[in-house]
Symmetry: C2
Subunit: 226 residues, 2 copies
């Protein structure tokens, strides 16, 4: 089946590195959904304003280079990168059809922006400019299962790093909400787990800034911003 993007999402992540591994993990992260010209019709969003959460079905567009190959197992970063899990038991990008699924929080709908109707969301785990194929309302009675058992994922999301920011960060970035979002992302430990090298310096692109950091044990220290 041929599917085509109805929209693209604008986020602060020009690269994959640093993007949270699931939606909702960094709840303050802002995203803006901009529709393709063909779909810029405010009527298509009528009634959406009453929902607090939305589903996005999107494309793992950063992984196109794999050429559509699929492997039966993948190594989830959160398991240290060594354990193999069946691809359908993971949310890995490397799947037969590179479809992503994310629940985001609906913040507001702007029906008449210069780009047509746009949807402002938070909590998206998507790279800037990711193509969106569908937007659906979150329907609690069908979608929410607070007692669901989550196998090897249980408990994995609990660990957060302590983050040390350099002096003068506020002056440099200015926007306090951006700083909060940055801290949230860093707390999640953006490193691939199989490179647990405490001497190594990492660089992360976020909202036009290049953030350099190091991790030692449970502490992440930002060592430069440009």
């Amino acid at each position: 089946m041929e599917i085509k993007p109805i929209a693209h999402i604008r986020t602060d992540f020009p690269e994959k590195f640093g993007v949270p591994r699931q939606s909702g993990l960094a709840g303050s992260l802002k995203g803006m959904i901009v529709f393709e010209k063909e779909y810029r019709n405010p009527e298509a969003l009528r009634g959406l304003e009453g929902f607090s959460h939305l589903w996005l079905i999107w494309e793992f567009s950063a992984n196109r280079a794999t050429g559509g190959q699929w492997r039966a197992t993948v190594r989830p970063p959160r398991l240290g990168g060594n354990a193999h899990m069946g691809v359908f038991a993971t949310r890995s990008p490397f799947r037969p059809n590179p479809l992503g699924l994310s629940c985001v929080k609906l913040e507001s709908i702007e029906l008449e922006s210069p780009h047509g109707p746009v949807i402002h969301v938070t909590g998206a785990d998507l790279m800037d400019n990711t193509p969106i194929y569908d937007i659906k309302p979150y329907i609690k009675y069908a979608d929410s299962h607070p007692d669901a058992l989550c196998g090897y994922v249980e408990g994995l999301q609990e660990e957060r790093l302590r983050v040390i920011l350099p002096a003068g960060l506020s002056e440099k970035i200015g926007d306090e909400s951006k700083i909060s979002s940055l801290v949230e992302i860093l707390q999640l430990d953006p490193r691939p787990s199989y490179h647990n090298d405490s001497d190594r310096e990492y660089g992360l692109s976020f909202s036009g800034y290049n953030i350099r950091f190091r991790v030692n044990g449970n502490t992440l220290e930002v060592i430069g911003i440009s």
Copy 2:
């Protein structure tokens, strides 16, 4: 983007009429996911057994006849069929990309069936032979939002019909679990809401049976099974 089915689901619904309008509404309904030959690899399911719920991304294959047209608004049957809602504020099949999203309960995984590995699920709102494009584990911390606000959908799922079964039904169908599922489906009122004609007789195909029924007020009476 071109996507291709990884599997098909086998359910008791040869036709669209009677299929529950959301996943989980008829929790006893059984489904079996059978992979396409290329994906019949038990390794691809490793670790899935620890999850209680799965996401299915599938195609509204019964609606292909619409020729890919999209309309900005649809009339959700549960609103009586008269109110127009934006297509992205609904889970309607008539959307730009005919992708469906359903959460189902994982009952068991059979790694070596005559059809390769199969997944047994319950609660699916899918027609028999629906193509599946992706299977993902339900991850509670990202997917479950018990406090989500659901706009015009709030409260709509509460009403269930009283169902009167004819004498001799058990003898005819035999399988008690099929009867329970049938009752669940009928309680949900399978009629399109804009045909609230109490004299009309409806026919529903379920698990090889043709069920004829009438609805009067809050009571659905099964008047024949063949």
